[in-house]
């Protein structure tokens, strides 16, 4: 968290709200009434730098770095409880996704370094095979994110393996070319 | 002095000519009063005979059939010049009639269909009629086939309209009698038909309407006493001019609208859409659609005879 005694307008990014607002799913965020239903409902609220409600306040005020560098977005586990309950029907979970994407893109995902690595690894896996290969995913993720944590994952991996739940070979879809063409086209079109 | 008359057959089925003959022995009375100087279906006169006449020499010309090709139009214009009174006889000349259903297609698509695509076509060389061709060294010219079928009054000025497919013979007699007696209504009027809709003539019992299912005549035997529309049959009676004597209705067949719309009704078919949709039972989109699914080919059903006279007249191209 950045420490400031007084916040000067000049350091705030007043386009941030519109940046989020213009995304699909972001259009309700201006309607937030700061009721706190989201924060109160969030299973991770307690360990977040800012609970979801505060994130919306920060976005609104233009605290771009605080939001993107917070651990909040990386603690969101996509349970959608907040989104279901939000009286203004703000797609909170989707806003979190949007923030994750911006943070990754701009290299601000320090607090979520591991999550970002996991997500990227996952994406590459899918782009490569068309499907997720859990064994390879975890191996690659651990090696990239934190090789020393490997021992921490071993008991679980063993439990899966010994119970016949860990396939060694990945499954590649037959028409991976088609999938790649689609992805290539998306790349050309650019994100929304 | 005998009147000079002519009857011409444009794009039609010839039914109107037959209807004229269907006045039976009264044709003698007519013949007594009228000298027919042009009637291709019955008498051997040539176009040049007409061209040789003075302008306005005919007292009366009955033109039946729509304007489908350049010949129809050319002769319509010729006859217009040569006659004092021009009557559009029958649905085709009046509102386009069945031929004008072709307006939902283009000339090209019709030619493709007729000369190469139909199941029974045997045309290995792909021969299609050409406007100009050389046959045995001689030039041959065919009338130009138009993209759009038109009513008579869309190409020439028309004095009176005698609707119906075909018109009721008695109405033809009445109309001719009126001409003989010089008792014609103002120009542009409909003669030989009433001013209200067919429901006025229809003897069936009518109640308040709420239609929850559309049926087809082939699937049911209608109650002989009750309004056909109320029984779910698409009957164009409510949007069609009376005058036919409810012939179809009396035979248990719903009206198809050949007498055309009433005065000030701009589009007979669209009017029917409004009227019919107004009295459907359901309120939910899905249920409405379910009822509407029962109408096979609504556009052509509602505009069976009146396409050429309708507001849009044809499919966009």
């Amino acid at each position: 968290m950045l420490e400031r005694e007084v916040v000067y307008e000049s350091v705030l990014d007043h386009d941030f709200l519109d940046e989020i607002y213009s995304l699909p799913g972001g259009h309700e965020i201006k309607k937030c009434i700061q009721c706190g239903t989201c924060s109160g409902s969030c299973p991770q609220g307690a360990v977040m730098d800012y609970a979801p409600r505060k994130i919306f306040s920060l976005i609104r005020a233009g605290f771009r770095d605080e939001v993107l560098e917070s651990n909040t977005i990386w603690y969101c586990s996509s349970c959608y409880t907040c989104a279901v309950r939000c009286p203004k029907e703000i797609k909170i979970t989707d806003v979190m996704y949007a923030l994750k994407r911006i943070a990754i893109k701009e290299g601000k995902a320090k607090a979520g370094r591991k999550a970002a690595v996991l997500s990227k690894t996952f994406m590459n896996m899918v782009n490569k095979y068309g499907r997720n290969h859990e064994t390879e995913l975890m191996t690659r993720y651990i090696l990239t994110a934190d090789p020393f944590s490997a021992f921490n994952f071993m008991p679980q991996g063993w439990r899966l393996f010994s119970n016949g739940r860990l396939p060694i070979m990945p499954h590649k879809i037959k028409n991976i070319e088609q999938l790649r063409k689609i992805l290539k086209k998306v790349e050309e079109l650019g994100e929304i | 002095m005998k009147l000079k008359g002519g009857i011409y057959w444009g794009s039609g089925c010839g039914g109107c000519d037959v209807a004229v003959l269907d006045i039976h022995e009264k044709i003698l009375d007519v013949a007594e009063k009228v000298d027919f100087l042009f009637w291709p279906i019955a008498l051997d006169f040539k176009y040049d005979d007409v061209r040789a006449m003075d302008d306005g020499e005919f007292d009366l010309v009955l033109y039946n059939g729509a304007i489908r090709n350049s010949e129809n139009e050319e002769i319509a214009k010729l006859l217009r010049r040569k006659t004092k009174t021009l009557v559009a006889l029958g649905a085709c000349a009046h509102i386009g009639g069945l031929p004008s259903l072709a307006n939902y297609h283009t000339k090209q698509s019709m030619f493709d269909r007729v000369y190469s695509e139909t199941e029974s076509t045997d045309n290995p060389d792909g021969t299609v009629p050409l406007e100009k061709s050389i046959v045995d060294g001689n030039g041959l010219e065919l009338p130009r086939f138009y993209n759009t079928v038109k009513t008579l009054d869309q190409v020439v000025d028309v004095d009176y309209y005698l609707p119906g497919c075909p018109p009721v013979p008695q109405q033809i007699v009445n109309a001719l009698t009126a001409v003989f007696n010089g008792e014609l209504p103002p120009k542009g009027s409909i003669i030989g038909a009433g001013t209200r809709t067919l429901c006025d003539e229809c003897p069936r019992e009518k109640e308040e309407k709420e239609i929850s299912e559309i049926k087809r005549p082939l699937n049911m035997i209608p109650d002989p006493e009750k309004c056909l529309l109320e029984q779910g049959l698409i009957c164009l009676g409510p949007v069609t001019r009376e005058g036919c004597g409810a012939r179809c209705i009396n035979s248990g067949v719903p009206c198809r609208g050949c007498y055309g719309p009433l005065e000030e009704v701009h589009d007979q078919g669209i009017r029917m859409i409004s009227a019919l949709a107004s009295v459907l039972g359901p309120k939910e989109e899905k249920e409405i659609d379910a009822v509407l699914d029962g109408i096979v080919d609504p556009l052509r059903t509602f505009h069976r005879f009146s396409t050429a006279a309708s507001i849009l007249r044809r499919k966009m191209i």
Binding site: C79, V126, Q156, P167, I182 | -
Partner: protein
């Protein structure tokens, strides 16, 4: 009843026991699941965190391929269920998105009109098959077996806004806060559904890989409430929930000093047990937390 089946990646791997039980149980109810040929990953939550349009595009590939069969798509995985539904809604709700996805699919020779309904296998079981048939098939009544119905989060929030009152979301088949269909399904098998207030609370899902301690804490809460309410086992409907609660249960115990020993099984396995099928047939031998003695006794009694 024929459906297009979209198993999802986990069901083909770490949750293969789920698939085994589905294969074993479903034919008895006349539920025919024809697997969508050459399906690809739905993108889950991770893909969405990096690229949005791409994640919708890969997800839409599945829907486009499924559309030509004009059947509902059924998936046993809550995450796939949510993501595919979400794709549908974004596709239909945002014209710009629809346009771009259309172009992208076209590049792959596909097209999609947005009209495929995606359903969870649980929905099919309770609404198309019905409790009555389940009850009829449950020849070995599981009397005395106390079960905590654990729905997890994503299944009850298929399209998460507008479904607070449930009725206005066509996808929702149960309440997002207090679903009851699995409770009733459990009762239909003859077992007892225990009061389980944590039925829709999050298990931590993918946080288990990144913020393990937090995820384990959530699992502890879920296990504790089940134990406190006297559950012999937990029944779930989602591969990830099952993995977190099952594979990580020993770790929860070691971290928090608890002594949980609660098997976490799939609802299809439960139905199979009620039908008198052998545990191996249902993949129950693949559980990390094995069936407990009291459970076995009840099953033997049944």
């Amino acid at each position: 009843m024929k459906y297009t089946y979209y198993p999802g990646c986990s069901v083909k791997a770490t949750a293969n026991l789920y698939q085994e039980s589905i294969d074993s149980v479903m034919p008895s109810f006349g539920v025919e699941l024809e697997e969508l040929e050459d399906w690809n990953c739905c993108g889950a939550t991770a893909y969405m965190s990096v690229k949005e349009l791409m994640s919708f595009a890969i997800s839409a590939r599945n829907l486009a391929m499924a559309e030509k069969f004009h059947r509902d798509v059924v998936t046993p995985c809550s995450a796939c269920y949510l993501v595919l539904n979400k794709t549908n809604h974004y596709f239909n709700d945002y014209p710009d998105m629809r346009k771009k996805l259309g172009i992208a699919l076209e590049a792959g020779g596909l097209s999609y009109s947005g009209n495929i309904r995606v359903r969870h296998l649980l929905d099919v079981m309770v609404n198309d098959v019905g409790f009555e048939k389940i009850s009829e098939a449950a020849t070995s009544k599981l009397e005395g077996l106390n079960i905590a119905p654990y729905y997890g989060c994503q299944i009850v929030r298929p399209f998460y806004y507008g479904c607070g009152a449930c009725s206005d979301s066509e996808d929702a088949f149960d309440d997002p806060d207090d679903p009851i269909c699995m409770d009733r399904l459990i009762e239909a098998t003859g077992a007892t559904s225990v009061k389980y207030s944590m039925k829709t609370k999050c298990c931590g899902s993918s946080l288990m890989g990144t913020e393990e301690k937090q995820a384990l804490k959530l699992c502890r809460g879920l296990l504790a409430d089940a134990e406190n309410n006297g559950a012999h086992c937990i029944v779930t409907i989602c591969p990830l929930c099952q993995m977190n609660l099952d594979i990580y249960q020993p770790k929860v115990n070691s971290l928090f000093g608890t002594k949980f020993n609660i098997p976490v099984i799939y609802f299809t396995q439960l139905i199979g047990l009620a039908m008198g099928k052998k545990p191996e047939e249902l993949g129950l031998n693949k559980l990390a937390v094995k069936m407990t003695e009291p459970m076995k006794q009840i099953l033997q009694g049944a």
